[in-house]
Amino acid sequence: MQVSSVKFKLVEGTRSAGQSIFAHGFRSFLTTLGIIIGVASVIAVVSVVQGFSANITQQFDGMGTNVINIESFTPRKERLQGVRAKLTYNDYLQIKYKIAGISNVTPTVRMWGSNAGITYRGQTSSSMIVGTASTYQKLNTVYPERGRFFNASDDQSRRRVAVLGPSIMSKLDIKGDPIGQHVGVSGEWFKVIGIAEKRGKLFGFDQDDFILLPFSTTRALLGGAEEPDIIISFQVNEPSQLDQVKQQVKNLLRRNHKLDQDANDDFEIATADQMLDTFDKIIGSTTLVLGGIVGISLLVGGIGIMNIMLVSVTERTREIGIQKALGATRFDILLQFLIEAVFLCLLGGLLGLILGFGAGSLISNLTGLPSATVPLWAVILSFGFSAGIGLIFGIIPAAKAANLDPIDALRYE
């Protein structure tokens, strides 16, 4: 068969499919409802997850991919035996002065639970207390919306100053200008010198619920004989030297901690890249699982289409007979019904796309998640899948129509 003739048949088939679909507008809509809902759920889910993922990636990018975080790590087995690995202030100093090519080396200590009580004019609450150096600002791109961040001299002279996350304001019901007021942390009073920028929620976790204190002040606050376990973060000046620096730090810490040759590390060195990779994997598998579930709903939608198409073939038996008497070949009839099924599915896909994006945007707005984005691959996949469903589930009804005997079909009442 000539290419031009197939093209002609496709054009005519599409024309007649369009007429047939719009002649039974409501039924066509009901027929394709399964596809509409299926595609709408794909797009809604994907748009929310992707919008979310884009937002996270952005946050990691803000952190800089050449930032390294080191935390202590105790295997579960040892933890059960009461052993706890620790990174100390000494480790921090060693890294800061012995490793070349790094900057903004920052020690961080966190206070949780009973230590983390905060008070203000009789109001009490709790928050995440972070004791850190002034370089924390550069590593984590925290900018004060009002006031200032603490500087090196605040840290050196153990000043009792605090930078508050914006959520603390409402938590403690602080009214008026917070700068210059005092809040209580672990029974000591701190002067508020700055309020950080709002960041919003992530996984339902409030990123604005924290109090930043100078590192030295926090250490003093924790007091006691026991040294706190700290987190050490720094920036590698040359991203190409990232692996080299990691190895140097690793060797240094192992020496410091007097670990045997065959002992495991009692610390973890993580880069933002690694975290991003892990996150991408989580998002990827989440999308896959959700996609699978939604795929099943598309399958069900396809079966719905097949069902109605089969009814439609029976209903139009006589028409098919007439068309055959007028000279339609099997291929003509097959193509006509296949195109109709694919056309239906594509229309459903389009409606689903619009609906899904609307639903995704609505969900994002209502839950405060980052705004929904629909990646091109999801659009192409939805349409491709819809067309595929139409083809697969259209073929049985179309073959049934094409194989009708013209005489029987003409006699059909």
Binding site: S20, A23, G321, A325, L326, G327, A328, R330, L410
Partner: protein, 244 residues
Amino acid sequence: MSKQTIIELKGIAKQYVMGSESFYALDHIDLDIYLNDYIAIVGSSGSGKSTLMNLLGCLDYPTNGEYKLKGTDVATLDENHLAGIRNQEIGFIFQNFNLLPRASALQNVMQPLIYRGLPLAERKRRAENALTMVGLQDRMTHVPNQLSGGQRQRVAIARALVTEPAILLADEPTGNLDSTTTIEIMALFDQLHADGQTLIIVTHEQEIAERCHRVVTLKDGHLMSDQLNQPQASSPSLEVNAGV
């Protein structure tokens, strides 16, 4: 008078098998149909006239025999070629009109031209001409439901004519029409015959058969008589009727 043969049937048989029994709906029929013939095929129900109609219309295969349409043995053709023959050489007119219910008169008439691969503009031009020829130039956008029985049959005739077929096959074309409309449709057939069209009309109505120029009578699958008719002459139709 030398006539150009359009259809040659030689020993055409159609056998139906039902369980252990079998019977011939058509029992080895020989029939030649010539250009511009105006034939009525008559017979009681079960005489095999519908079967003959289906065979002539290439909707069905004979069990035995040779069917030559314009020199081609169609019994040997595959389904796609038969569809082509139905499209190019045969125009069907049915008792119940068999129009596509959701399509307008114009779309109905354009339909067979789709299978011929004609572009839309050309289809439209030809379909409008055909509808004008049957006097429906004012009803082109009407769907079958909005048309009277006579008008519907005119649409069907226009649809059969639009492909300029070698033969026009009408199966009880006036069976669903009242007497006034029947006369109108028969006048249209007379006109088509006068214009050179070959017409085959299957009917059981005497008045219809009387208007045709040749009457073929079937009974129990056998060809009983094949007589020429002079419609305007005294009353040769009586002889035909006597044979039925």
